[in-house]
Symmetry: C2
Subunit: 312 residues, 2 copies
């Protein structure tokens, strides 16, 4: 078997569908019997136990963080390459090191989601053109990394190399802190008059506060260190803005800097080029906002794109 | 003339169109000759000078805050009812008191906008179902207030009564602070890796940072006191969230309170009822999140709606 998928919710189910459509031999498993049945009814191969996926060359853990502590002890003898799709990487890496110290592992995070969840919401196009972070640290085997990257590229994703720490900091900035802010804004405008006056900026600024509190806590409390550090940076930025409120031009200039960044996002991709890879090259690519579009494991080279630098 | 509109940008132009369509005798003026010409070409009556609107029973100032200081001195002898559409009410009220102390004035703010601006973007449906705050303070004449409310209702808006101070605080909570946060988030995630990873929550949380820096400064620096106070409240809320990051359940409970508020927004309107009005009744209505849908100046009564209270 090429790929085994553990957990057939939104991400795992989408992975099962996309990998099957891409021609991989793929099988799934879910702890919930009804979910297994739904996936079988949809025409996919589903194992009745985790052990049924033991011969997969790549095993993807698509279960929530709390479930990893249950699943990982059963995988200590697994002989293939293990990866995951969890939204915080440091705790996962720690759990794998504890429960599966001899298993080959590359942490991953497809930056894809929807408001909906479960196998019924799974969508084969979920990863198309989206970022899939594949973590690369000093102790990561580059061949293992290339194998995961190759698979994620084949599923339509842009593969971004980053260390576990870099991922967790970036995720705090672009996802976890925004969730905290959306919740804080909802609480700030809790009085009926404010709620009556709320329009576009309130609607958008609070949208993700509708997320499941369990999921938000898994992300934010699960990434407590980086989230706390980024909240401190944000509060400093708010203090800077607050200090400028008394001076129209000073506030306008602060805002203009932010506007320029936002108007330029997402940046236009530059041309495709070939990169003979080392760990250092790949991490430099990720730090420059670039991604891998294709992997050639034979020559140990990758096709990559970087954002165009806007000319001021 | 029933209504005169000074400034034919997005809001003023929309007002001209809607008031004309609603059967009011309406005329406009804009300092810019090309804008006057465009409005005339579109079939509207346009004066060549501000003085041409002197006989309007209701004169609406739809110019930016900095332009008010130029326009108001010319209106000190105006005999009708004056209102405005500016997004911060305290500075406007102060300017009117200084330049037009004997003119009848009720401050207003239609909570409607678009990404676009100018007469070309004007839209007769802009106010349909949207909130139009009509300010009501101790020194506001209730008959004047009812006349403005009647007109705003006739243009399709929900008229919300609020004091100038209540308006400015609520606007800080639901519009000005969200603009500051969107800008701060853009600056927080300025590194290329974070920008590459940004997805839905970053996109939504930063959307309004694309606003014009001039406009953002007019709103935020123009409402410096309330915005600073609300930023302080927000930072306290972020500290509360930060303190709970170390404890999954404590963070989840904090988030769940915010989620409940957001999922319940905007609240469902309750039944229409008639309210014989006093200043106190109207302000209580606004504080409860309610609005006026119809005005009967003869009986000094209004038809009103309030949000349904959700049953826990």
């Amino acid at each position: 078997m090429d790929i085994g998928v553990v957990g057939l919710g939104l991400i795992g189910g989408s992975l099962l569908r996309r990998a099957h459509a891409a021609g991989f031999r793929v099988s799934g498993f879910d702890a919930d019997a009804a979910t297994r049945e739904a996936a079988r009814q949809a025409g996919y191969e589903v194992a009745d136990a985790l052990a049924g996926l033991a011969d997969a060359r790549l095993l993807v853990l698509a279960v929530p963080l709390p479930a990893l502590a249950t699943v990982l002890p059963e995988l200590s003898g697994y002989g293939g390459l293990l990866t995951d799709v969890t939204s915080v990487k440091e705790p996962v890496t720690r759990l794998v090191a504890r429960h599966c110290p001899s298993v080959r592992f590359v942490a991953g995070h497809p930056m894809a989601g929807k408001e909906t969840s479960g196998f019924a919401a799974a969508d084969a196009d979920l990863f198309e053109g989206r970022v899939w972070v594949a973590c690369l640290d000093e102790d990561t085997d580059l061949d293992d990394w290339l194998r995961l990257a190759e698979t994620a590229c084949a599923l339509g994703a842009r593969v971004v190399p980053a260390t576990v720490a870099e991922h967790d900091t970036a995720a705090a900035r672009i996802s976890h802190v925004p969730h905290v802010l959306a919740a804080a804004l909802s609480l700030l405008a809790a009085d009926p008059l404010s709620r009556a006056l709320g329009a576009g900026s309130f609607a958008d600024g609070t949208r993700v506060a509708q997320s499941s509190p369990e999921l938000a806590a898994a992300m934010c409390a699960g990434n407590a260190g980086p989230v706390a550090a980024e909240l401190r940076r944000l509060v400093e930025e708010l203090a800077e803005a607050g200090n400028r409120l008394g001076d129209h031009d000073a506030f306008r200039d602060w805002y203009a800097g932010a506007r320029e960044l936002r108007v330029d996002w997402p940046p236009e991709p530059g041309d495709v080029r070939r990169l003979p890879v080392t760990t250092e090259d790949l991490l430099s690519l990720g730090r420059a906002g670039g991604w891998v579009t294709e992997v050639d494991r034979g020559t140990r080279s990758v096709m990559v794109r970087q954002p165009q630098v806007s000319v001021a």
